[in-house]
């Protein structure tokens, strides 16, 4: 995997990805060699950098995407960047998803801003697998569904769920995933989203599919030095806290202790 560096990357495009969601496209040769699931740790005016996953990775033209929801001061500042502004980025960081096993059925399940890293994975690997991957994307409400069209442009029709039923199936991603798992054996499930969603994915997949979960945690350094970004995992002697920034963000479902 590419070793992260400190980079200065120009913004070359900016789109309103959904209500309160922005996607910035950065030009960077180094970042464009990232693996889906890796992230950038971005300097914003606060005391800490902000971690954002790559929403797309186009190594042919040295472009990557950052798709984020505006939730606080850092993402608000990021959303105000425009073409020509430069971002100070550490990246690519962390361990991304493994390439899917081409012989096994593959599903990608994303909730909210968990969708972007899955799109990057599907964009990179969907041609590898015999069947196209099953894509299930959930959001709170219709206005917050992201990257649906990007999947369509890859020729894949995602299943969309919304909590309030304003788009796609009413409910969350668990129902369609459960259905899919019933019909696929020895499957592999890639997921990213809120913890309760990931817990559901793990529970549903247990004994039926290998799960790779991309986690979030509040970070300090982003590079493994401060032990801020830990999540509870199963260690040799019980609970063991491991770092999202360098041991993850992608963990296997059975590694998690929740």
């Amino acid at each position: 995997m590419e070793e992260g560096k400190r980079l200065t990357c120009p913004v070359v495009a900016r789109t309103q990805a959904a209500e309160g969601h922005v996607e910035l496209i950065l030009q960077s040769r180094a970042l464009a060699r990232a693996v889906p699931g890796q992230f950038a740790h971005i300097l914003t005016p606060g005391v800490l950098r902000r971690p954002i996953s790559f929403s797309r990775i186009e190594s042919e033209n040295d472009l990557i995407g950052l798709l984020f929801q505006v939730v606080g001061s850092g993402t608000r500042w990021l959303a105000e960047r425009s073409i020509g502004n430069e971002l100070d980025v550490l990246g690519p960081l962390g361990n991304g998803f493994p390439a899917p096993d081409p012989m096994k059925p593959w599903a990608a399940v994303g909730g909210g801003v968990g969708v972007p890293p899955l799109f990057a994975a599907v964009q990179k690997w969907s041609h590898l697998t015999g069947d196209r991957p099953e894509i299930i994307i959930g959001a709170r409400t219709a206005g917050w569904v992201v990257m649906e069209n990007d999947f369509k442009e890859l020729g894949i029709e995602p299943i969309v769920t919304t909590d309030d039923g304003s788009k796609g199936q009413k409910g969350n991603v668990a129902d369609p995933l459960s259905l899919w798992l019933d019909n696929h054996n020895e499957a592999q499930v890639y997921a990213c989203g809120p913890i309760p969603m990931l817990q559901a994915v793990r529970r549903l997949s247990a004994g039926r599919a290998t799960t790779y979960l991309a986690l979030e945690q509040r970070m300090g350094c982003g590079i493994g030095a401060c032990l801020a970004c830990v999540v509870p995992t199963v260690g040799d002697f019980g609970l063991s806290y491991r770092r999202v920034c360098t041991d993850g963000p992608v963990f296997r479902g059975e590694e998690m202790m929740w």
Binding site: E3, L90, I223, G224, C226, L227, A228, V231
Partner: protein, 318 residues
């Protein structure tokens, strides 16, 4: 022009310059190796190490506050044996001074870990952490009572002839009394300050934002508090002080030196700017120059009340 930034601390500990990476913000050193010129640093104080591995506190472990950072790491560390086996070899490949921050639940644990680290190739000094606000037993408890601070320092002093830094807590009525206790117990240097006990509420979740509830505040927000403590201690002890808390640039370093510190540690700002310590070291000569100083020695303690300056000069083996 100040060209020599070198300083000498007690027991012959020579640093190429007074800028040291602060414990807990620089891991065991090698994590930052590709972002920082570690060899150019005055020293590196590694993450606190205990006799046995510690689990640390439940996440979330950090929270941003206005110009500050709350953390509740809880001293997760792999224990001294793993440190010696895995981390120290990587770290000692860099031509800098390695200070090992040590921690225990009991006086005996502090003694044990100090003893184990003595005579390890590449360990240049120990920093006794009696000021971590994030653990229930040990840590800050020892740093809030002069008798306990004395006891820990004395036990470690008896166990090692390495240069001994003792790191003080700001969360006390009188930092001077603690400083005097650790000086009397044989500390060579005082590190001041560790983080300020603080709290944030996640109003959405209706609970403290950190998994460990309270946490330690670091970053620019605490600089005035840190400077005050250095300034108070410098007037009452003779051993040198390494100042820290919120340093962002070379001007901030000069503030600490003028308040009586002989060297500084730099922590939180590294998360934003990994190479900021290198930049500070490069810029320090110019800043000293523009303030009219010809050597580092002249700066130390220059802002102290007149009668106290000599104290620092005596102490300042720089």
């Amino acid at each position: 022009m100040v060209t020599d930034l070198g300083i000498e601390l007690p027991r012959g500990m020579k640093l190429s310059n007074p800028v040291i990476a602060a414990s807990g913000t620089f891991g065991f050193g090698s994590e930052y190796a590709r972002f920082v010129d570690i060899g150019a640093l005055g020293g590196v104080s590694v993450k606190g190490v205990s006799p046995k591995p510690w689990l640390g506190n439940p996440p979330p472990r950090v929270w941003e506050t206005p110009m500050g950072l709350l953390n509740s790491i809880g001293l997760q560390n792999p224990g001294v044996e793993t440190f010696i086996e895995k981390d120290l070899p990587l770290l000692r490949s860099h031509p800098t001074k390695i200070i090992v921050n040590i921690i225990g639940h009991t006086v005996e644990e502090y003694r044990q870990v100090a003893e184990r680290l003595t005579n390890q190739d590449g360990v240049h000094a120990l920093e006794v952490n009696i000021s971590c606000p994030n653990i229930k037993e040990g840590g800050m408890m020892f740093g809030q009572d002069p008798d306990q601070a004395f006891a820990v320092t004395r036990a470690v002093r008896d166990a090692t002839d390495l240069p001994l830094l003792v790191k003080l807590s700001p969360n006390v009525t009188s930092p001077v009394i603690i400083a005097q206790a650790v000086e009397a117990a044989g500390a060579d240097v005082i590190s001041a300050i560790n983080t300020v006990l603080g709290l944030a509420i996640d109003i959405g979740l209706r609970r403290p934002a950190l998994g460990g509830m309270t946490g330690g505040l670091s970053g620019p927000a605490i600089k005035p508090l840190a400077l005050r403590i250095v300034y108070e201690i410098a007037q009452q002890v003779k051993i040198p002080i390494i100042g820290m808390g919120g340093i962002q640039n070379a001007e901030d370093v000069v503030e600490f030196l003028m308040a009586g510190a002989s060297a500084v540690m730099v922590g939180t700002i590294t998360f934003q700017y990994p190479d900021r310590m290198n930049q500070i070291i490069r810029e320090l000569p110019d800043v000293l120059q523009s303030c009219g100083f010809a050597s580092l020695r002249e700066v130390v303690g220059v802002a102290l009340p007149q009668s106290q300056k000599s104290n620092v000069q005596r102490a300042g083996v720089i």
